[in-house]
């Protein structure tokens, strides 16, 4: 099963990362990673907190923030700041590169892919001598359903 494979993969990556950086392998950290990889799409800390609570695995918000920091550091999750003040996260391992269309009117976030972004990344690293780790491209504007709404009125 693909999902299980991915879980095994990221658990191993995280384990190696913790070990080589002198961090401890606590059950909280692994269960957080499991939960993060159990869902698609974006989530914020509060939502993650709620999900773990439901599953009877209660971790503190402090530990969530701490662990997300580690997961960001080893590139297993990505953090976005779309509009509001709270950060949005999503898993990033073996997840196809994608960017975001954000509607200024209804706040909806839509994913899209464009391989040409890769050529821009390459240029940044060649021309500017920048060592690229990841990127975030957000296109802001009006989504098609808000355009339709606007026309009706």
């Amino acid at each position: 099963m693909v999902v299980a494979e991915q879980q095994a993969n990221v658990q191993r990556i995280f384990s190696e990362y913790l070990e080589s950086n002198g961090h401890r392998k606590t059950p909280e950290r692994f269960s957080i990673l499991t939960e993060v990889y159990a869902h698609e799409g974006h989530f914020d800390i509060e939502r993650l907190y709620g999900r773990m609570k439901q599953k009877k695995y209660r971790v503190s918000r402090a530990t969530l923030y701490n662990t997300m920091g580690l997961l960001l550091d080893c590139d297993l999750v990505r953090r976005h700041r779309f509009n509001g003040s709270q950060a949005q996260f999503e898993k990033s391992h073996a997840y196809r590169q994608h960017d975001h269309l954000i509607c200024t009117e209804c706040g909806a976030v839509q994913e899209f892919c464009d391989p040409r972004i890769q050529t821009i990344r390459n240029t940044a690293s060649e021309v500017m001598g920048f060592e690229v780790r990841y990127h975030t491209l957000q296109i802001h504007g009006t989504c098609s359903s808000c355009q339709a709404k606007r026309k009706r009125s």
Copy 2:
């Protein structure tokens, strides 16, 4: 003088925007716009607050936030969230499109241009039916000077 021309231009745009949206033309709003367009580069609310205070034009932080909202709405400024929690702003009228390279290690923000981003915007609007207003592309990684530092140690 080009700077004065630009000032006159944006003041007019803002004035028309305020008028057609039923907002009042207060001296605070125009002096904030003037201050915003008097500098290059990024700034946060606190810095803007400090600058206006120095020039003996004291406006409250509340008014700054309020006015920045209006300026965002009429596309005269752009708001970024690079890393920290506080938003960074920059003027956006008649300012060449550019994107940002952000160093994960030292936090430095570098600008760069790549016209190919335009083709991606076009695709988003054609394929996804999205009405594009603006975009933000952030490339995260290690800047050249941090790479050099790393090699030394």
